[in-house]
Amino acid sequence: MAAPQVDLSVELAGLSLVNPVLVASGTFGYGTEYGELVDVGRLGGICTKAVTLQPRAGNPPPRICETPAGMLNAIGLQNPGVEVFIGEKMPALREFGVPIIVNVAGESVADYVSLAERLSDCADIAALELNLSCPNVKRGGMQFGIDGELTERVVAAVREATELPLIAKLSPNVTDIASIGEAARDGGADALSLINTLLAMSIDIDRRQPMLANVTGALSGPAIRPVAVRMVWEVAQAVDLPIIGMGGITSAADALQFIMAGATAVAVGTANFVEPGISGRIIDDLEDFCQQAGVACAADLIGAAHGSSDVEGLQ
């Protein structure tokens, strides 16, 4: 007897994803870097590297260093700017035929608005992910995501400027992430993405200096997973919006923790560097898990760990 088909599809911010596995911003370039190694067309979607209005050179090196089960990065939002993104990166991204979620970063509310306006004119963008949470730039970035009022203001301003679905990406560098999620919802976000990286630091004791030229950096990888799962759980309880959960995902079991904590979809980040084909493996293993657990629709697992506890907005 053939095993029954499992339906992995999910709905998120008006997007229909064939499966809930995306790749996280900044960890998959513009897709083409991995084209030779990964069947990109299988992905639930791609979150692109952050794009800014003007090109950015990024931070001086060294930009990364390894930490226990994790890494620090201080890339500093290096990117060619929105015009080159539209002209040179979107044509190849389109070819993959999967939802393209464009991660945008600004130094001011006006920057985010201009980016949203410009990208609204570009065909085949599925959604915008507002990066309110980059810890590696001096101005803008995380400063938005750690302040509820600013979060609401920037999301509301972008809401006015575009019809595209809006996903607010939250910073974990706050004491109460649920309240930031509420602020993003009040501003008009259609979904939330969490978590971005944790502000962190590492010192080279032989050279007696920081490991990164930027001094501080952004922690990602398996080391942050339990923090991320906790935050998805808290936001899912407080906010009636779909969540893209991420932070240290390396397997379907990890992805399921996020889904059961209340995430509608997940994004694989740092693990792409270590195992380029990991997203495909996670999709296959999710399907196997559902089959073995007798779950017909993966979406039925969203928020499953909350049991009868008070969970709002889980689809």
Binding site: G26, T27, F28, G29, E33, Y34, E36, L37, K49, A57, G58, P60, P61, P62, R63, I64, C65, E66, T67, P68, A69, G70, M71, N73, I75, Q78, D204, R207, A213, G221, P222, T250, T270, A271, N272, F273, V274, E275, P276, G277
Partner: protein, 271 residues
């Protein structure tokens, strides 16, 4: 570019802290060009997390294998240094651009510092292949005799060869760069160098003064190895514009003229 599980078929200690590793991987053996590297996952687990990059030192297409010369410096290289033959490793490669071949004129000088000899052995081997009648002079510098690893392999593919040690324990005493100026006066067509960043900076300075083209193999800490994370950049300058370029994709081989050596001196090295 391939990503696959390969087998370590041989590991041989070739000096204190130096190991020659041979991997069974027909795809990389057939595709690798001198100067390219492989990105090796040292564990099936997630700690240590990142892959480690190593230059290809040589290939054996008939056997379907390739070699890496490795110096033990930290956790990842220690794990490789202890691996038994037969152990499986996940390898991505060949990655990076590889050396630009020299113009038709003049002799070729290869300047190796320590473990930097590895990609130059591969390059010299390729330049000597049938049809390649290039005169190759090798300069190999290291701290002491112990660190002149694989010097027999290197001298074997050079027409002329000089060993230089800082402590004078073998060959001439001094820095490898002390012995480059006379070579540059002898109608050298092209210089290739691999070694510590400050050695490369000095080689680049001398070649610029002598107006000899120079290519260097650069290092930086790496994440993805394929150009996606922008983690592995070094500062470069061309046509008056400064920017950051990826060692894994735009390099690891750079025209010495485009590298911003002043910034390298200020400490933009992997360490």
């Amino acid at each position: 570019m391939y990503a696959q599980t390969t087998q370590l078929i041989q590991r041989e200690q070739v000096g204190p802290g130096y190991h020659l590793l041979e991997f069974d991987c027909p795809q990389v053996a057939a595709a690798a060009q001198p100067g390219q590297f492989v990105h090796i996952r040292v564990t099936g687990d997630w700690d240590p997390l990142l892959r480690r990059p190593f230059s290809v030192m040589g290939t054996n297409e008939a056997e379907g294998s390739f070699q890496v010369l490795m110096r033990t410096v930290g956790r990842g290289t220690q794990m490789l240094a202890e691996a038994q033959s037969g152990t499986k490793f996940d390898i991505m490669g060949p990655l990076g651009n590889g050396f630009a071949l020299p113009g038709p004129e003049g002799e070729v000088v290869l300047v190796a510092g320590g473990i930097g000899v590895a990609p130059l052995i591969f390059l010299a081997t390729a330049l000597r292949e049938p049809g390649g009648s290039r005169y190759i002079r090798g300069l190999f510098g290291a701290r002491s005799a112990d660190d002149l690893c694989c010097w027999l392999e290197f001298s074997g593919v050079c027409d002329e060869f000089n060993a230089i040690t800082e402590d004078g324990s073998t060959g001439e005493q001094g820095l490898v760069t002390d012995f480059l100026p006379p070579q540059l006066k002898r109608g050298t067509g092209c210089v290739y160098a691999c070694g510590p960043a400050l050695m490369l900076a000095e080689v680049a300075r001398q070649c610029e003064g002598a107006e000899v083209p120079c290519y260097v193999s650069m290092e930086q800490r790496m994440g993805c190895g394929v150009g996606a994370c922008l983690g592995c950049v070094i500062p470069t300058q061309a046509d008056g514009t400064q920017r950051y370029q990826r060692v894994c994709k735009d390099g690891p081989i750079f025209d010495a003229e485009v590298v911003d050596w002043e910034a390298i001196h200020r400490g933009c090295t992997p360490g």
